[in-house]
């Protein structure tokens, strides 16, 4: 363990305004172009010195948070997240919600597998006076009153922090790294360390926004500069948020890696002796170059091209559509098998996810990589509150991911794994396109009514919140794209990106921009898709009582209301169309005097991606259901015969 004195000296050195190890070259993000101002408010700046003991799975750390009150109110307390305490025992809110989501209560957490974070000391320097708050710390549960939850701690101050005032908070703490929960933790020699340090909440004009850790939501924090020194065993490779600025031998068997990054709101890192390092560069005619660093598992050697290609695709298309990636580097972490760390985003660093057998034609690797790289934009840069409005980053990003995959990687194919999940088989007959798979209707459909999207995300039913957050948003953004056209939607998203980069936007900010850029009042649309849990289901029937007259009946089976087109195709190649506001439960259109109808469709262009039943959107005068059913039941018959013969093994 690093002596406390040495740590204090190092922290003191880090606190010095002109420390010799400060980055020589400014980051792209350091100053907003042409303004001379930092891109972000930089009101929560961290200097951290942490030492990892892999065998004990502990992190001993000291940090100094320079925190400036950027709200318009004074505060008499400070609030901090202690995320690792979510896995201290099974009584935390996170564990209780996880049990609700899975329907199974987690057995007792073994001490060596538990996560915890214990503050040993907390001092606050305010207007030159230092006060020791260690004895005043109290756990609180602002969301559910769970007295056994220790993921938020409050520190009463001796004097209020006024708007614009800065305080320095020095904290000494110890974290026990859990066996992976929520994509952080350690297994074997693989450590992926996120949400690992005491982290200050966000003070807003209406008070502290410092939620407990919930099973189905993520994080929210202010922007700042992170200057972090990580003391790990010698020979262990480290990847972290930011750029490595220095590497020193802390002891014969220890190395300290110093990472610095401005204008980010979190810091995650990973270390392992097993990583292979690969580097590549993203270059583009109109976007800044980005150094890509990949930390690869040896058993995934050979997949680096796919990982880099996916990251490049995200940087390119997000950059072209929404705005440039502003940092100079990005770190791709390929997590170890069973680490549970796959598919997670942190500023300038993310985890991908692949398998030893990952044949070409599947899209899992590309999907997760593009998605997490895309989070650099929707989460990392446009930093909405993931506790309350998770759809603003996850939903926008799911939609964007599907668009990138469509541009760069589709068609991919349905695949399934066999024999313990190790052996994949790709079904080349089942192409997965954006419409079929990327918009995520199959998963949304199951939980479509579970919550209104406008409910704070942490209050979603834990078992289905993700579907409302990710899938429903992707579907309604796809619907908007069909309604307004891609160019208009792209401008909405790029305007949102431009205005709220390095800020904390709220849903109304997005809706306001959508109205402004589209030139339409889309409130009715957001009322339907965002502020309610209604589902959409339009159906059509064709009544032909006699030769000369037909009636098309269109029904609204769901509670959701959406204006729809109705198209009837007639013999002789003619076509008739109507527009229906979709409000009533049904409407009818007469076809007297026209040629005989061949087919009728409601929403024939599939504008309304949220329609949960597409089969009933059309009707044919010459149904092909029997032919289809014959074919597929005969195909299924082969499966059943093979099944009987396989189980015939026993006789």
């Amino acid at each position: 363990m690093l002596p406390r004195v040495a740590m204090a000296i190092t922290l003191l050195a880090l606190s010095a305004p002109a420390a010799p190890q400060q980055p020589a070259a400014p980051e792209n993000t350091a100053m907003a172009a042409g303004t001379g101002q930092p891109r972000s408010p930089r009101n929560a700046n961290y200097r951290i010195l942490a030492r990892l003991d892999p065998s004990a799975r502990t992190i001993t750390g000291e940090e100094v948070i320079s925190w400036r009150n950027i709200s318009n109110r004074a505060t008499t307390t400070l609030q901090f997240h202690l995320y690792y305490n979510a896995w201290r025992d099974t009584h935390s809110t996170w564990m209780r919600e996880e049990a609700l989501a899975t329907g199974e209560s987690h057995g007792a957490i073994e001490p060596e597998d538990a996560g915890s974070i214990d503050i040993a000391e907390m001092h606050v320097t305010q207007t030159g006076n230092e006060s020791n708050l260690s004895s005043r710390l109290r756990f609180m549960a602002p969301d559910d009153g769970n007295a056994r939850d220790r993921t938020v701690v409050e520190a009463p101050l001796e004097a209020p922090v006024q708007p614009g005032e800065t305080v320095d908070i020095r904290i000494r703490w110890t974290s026990h790294v859990p066996r992976p929960f929520a994509r952080t933790g350690a297994i074997g020699n693989f450590f992926f360390i996120a949400q690992w340090f005491p982290k200050i909440g966000v003070l807003q004009d209406d008070g502290w926004n410092c939620h407990q850790f919930h099973a189905s939501t993520e994080f929210f924090a202010d922007f700042g500069t992170y200057d972090v020194q990580l003391d790990v065993p010698k020979g262990w490779m480290v990847g972290a948020t930011g750029r490595e600025m220095a590497r020193t031998e802390a002891a014969p068997d220890r190395t300290t890696h110093r990472y610095i990054q401005e204008d980010v709101h979190d810091f995650a890192w990973t270390t392992s002796p097993d990583y292979m390092e690969r580097r590549a560069r993203f270059e583009h005619a109109s976007l800044p170059a980005v150094e890509m660093r990949l930390l690869l598992q040896p058993e995934h050697a050979g997949q680096e091209a796919r990982l880099f290609a996916s990251t490049r695709a995200a940087l390119r298309y997000y950059g072209e559509w929404f705005g440039a990636y502003p940092y100079r580097q990005i770190t791709i972490v390929d997590p170890a098998w069973q680490s549970g760390a796959e598919g997670m985003e942190y500023p300038t660093l993310f985890t991908a996810g692949t398998r030893w057998l990952e044949p070409a034609g599947t899209r899992d690797l590309e999907d997760v990589t593009v998605h997490e790289a895309g989070h650099q934009f929707w989460y990392g840069i446009v930093a909405s509150n993931e506790f309350e409005h998770a759809w603003l980053d996850e939903g926008l990003n799911t939609f964007s991911t599907a668009r990138v995959l469509e541009q760069a990687f589709y068609p991919a194919y349905y695949s399934r794994r066999y024999f313990g999940g190790f052996f994949p088989l790709v079904f080349k007959d089942l192409p997965l396109t954006r419409d079929v798979d990327g918009n995520r209707m199959p998963s949304y459909r199951q939980f479509a009514e579970s919550d209104a999207q406008s409910t704070p995300s942490w209050r979603y039913w834990p078992g289905s919140g993700g579907f409302i957050t990710y899938d429903k948003t992707a579907l309604w953004l796809g619907t908007l794209e069909h309604m307004l056209g891609w160019e208009t939607l792209r401008r909405i998203l790029s305007t949102y990106y431009e205005r709220f980069a390095f800020k904390h936007p709220r849903p109304d900010d997005f809706f306001r921009i959508a109205n402004e850029v589209s030139g339409q009042d889309l409130t009715w649309f957001f009322d339907q898709v965002h502020r309610s849990s209604n589902t959409f289901d339009y159906a059509i029937e064709l009544e032909t009582p006699d030769e000369d007259a037909s009636t098309v009946v269109v029904r609204r089976l769901g509670e959701g209301v959406f204006p729809v087109d109705v198209r009837v195709r007639l013999e002789g190649g003619q076509e008739r169309r109507w527009r229906w506001d979709g409000r009533d439960r049904w409407t009818a259109f007469e076809l007297a005097g026209h040629a005989r109808p061949l087919s009728a469709e409601v929403d024939p262009e599939h504008v309304l991606l949220l329609d949960v039943n597409r089969t009933n959107n059309s009707v044919s005068a010459r149904p092909a259901a029997r032919a289809a059913a014959n074919k597929w039941s005969l195909a299924w018959l082969i499966w059943l015969q093979d099944h009987l013969l396989t189980y015939g093994f026993f006789v």
Binding site: Q338, L425, D429, T615, S633, L634, T646, V651
Partner: protein, 340 residues
């Protein structure tokens, strides 16, 4: 007789019993067909008069498939994308090896198939052991005579297989595999452990499978009545001819692997429309016929190995069963004696 000779002899005997092969294929088809018709009705009802049916009729429509599965219950839930082409083979092997639960209707028809096959296997083994044509009444007489013996044997087998799949399998693949791989971070190593698990479990499974198989053959060939006695005799045979028995088993297993691989290579996957649809479906049925053929070869080759190792070379199935005339026929014969 070597394992290879026995395998060839098994093929020869099966080739000489085309009616048997056709009968087994028809039996499987007849058992499966009602469920296929039930599924067909579900699919047709769901598609109704929708235009979507046109796409579904011409290709695999994943979007519709998901929609169907969302509202499906019972049998309908087994209509999943992985039934397409070679996926069906892997899905079934995976279900067996990984001990997956079956839908109730599928479990029902599987149980029915196993019972009917148990009934018929007396006649099948008898036919293959004689290596000559037998009449239908002889076939069913043999099936009837051996059925109750097979049923008793089946109860013992059921207890053993229940123990293997109810206790050994979860212990091996959940508990032990979980413990051995719980802290592993390298998937390849875990895969090797999994494969080792399959080898161990497969060896135990094959051992009992062989013992029960040869017990069946001994019941038929030697007209044994005691299931326990047949198991003991089978075990004795297995011990004495261990290498040949295992070699023959593996040879049969290899034949199945070749058939499955050929289907995997040739299977065009999802049926399209028109002629290509029929080609795909016929290829699937050809594969199913192939499986039935190999099942009979499996029986015939093992039976011939057993027969070749018994006391004399011509040892064959129990004497043909001669049924006495019915009491009514006897009465008539006694009342009207014919001639001196």
């Amino acid at each position: 007789m070597t394992a290879t000779t026995a395998f060839r002899e098994g093929m020869r005997r099966t080739n000489g019993a085309p009616v048997l092969l056709a009968g087994m294929c028809i039996l499987t088809l007849l058992l499966a067909l009602p469920l296929a018709l039930a599924l067909r009705a579900m699919l047709e009802a769901h598609l109704g008069s929708s235009l979507v049916a046109e796409q579904v009729a011409s290709r695999a429509d994943y979007q519709w498939w998901q929609e169907f599965l969302f509202q499906a219950a019972g049998l309908g839930t087994t209509f999943v994308p992985s039934i397409i082409g070679f996926g069906a083979v892997l899905r079934n092997l995976d279900a067996l090896l990984d001990n997956r639960e079956m839908a109730t209707t599928i479990a029902g028809v599987t149980t029915g198939w196993l019972l009917i096959w148990s009934f018929l296997s007396g006649g099948v083994i008898d036919r293959l052991a004689r290596s000559r044509r037998t009449r239908a009444h002889h076939f069913f007489a043999a099936a009837g005579v051996h059925f109750w013996r097979f049923l008793r044997l089946g109860i013992v087998a059921l207890l053993v297989y229940s123990f293997l799949f109810g206790w050994v399998h979860p212990w091996l693949f959940d508990d032990l595999f979980g413990r051995l791989t719980g802290d592993l971070t390298v998937e390849r190593t875990a895969l090797l452990i999994r494969l080792a698990g399959y080898v161990i479990f497969g060896a135990v499974l094959i051992f009992f499978n062989v013992v029960f198989d040869y017990a069946r053959f001994r019941i038929v060939v030697e007209d044994r009545r005691s299931a326990i006695g047949a198991i003991a005799a089978s075990w004795g045979f297995f011990r004495r001819h261990f290498a040949r028995v295992i070699a023959l088993y593996l040879l049969n297993g290899a034949a199945f692997a070749v058939l499955a691989a050929a289907y995997g290579l040739l299977s065009p996957g999802a049926p399209g429309a028109g002629v290509t649809m029929w080609i795909v479906l016929l290829l699937g049925q050809a594969y199913i016929v192939g499986r039935h053929y190999l099942k009979l070869v499996f029986y015939a080759s093992q039976t011939s190995l057993l027969q070749s190792a018994l006391a004399h070379a011509d040892y064959t199935a129990a004497p043909a069963i001669e049924w006495p005339d019915s009491p009514a026929a006897e009465s008539i014969a006694n009342a009207n004696p014919i001639g001196p």
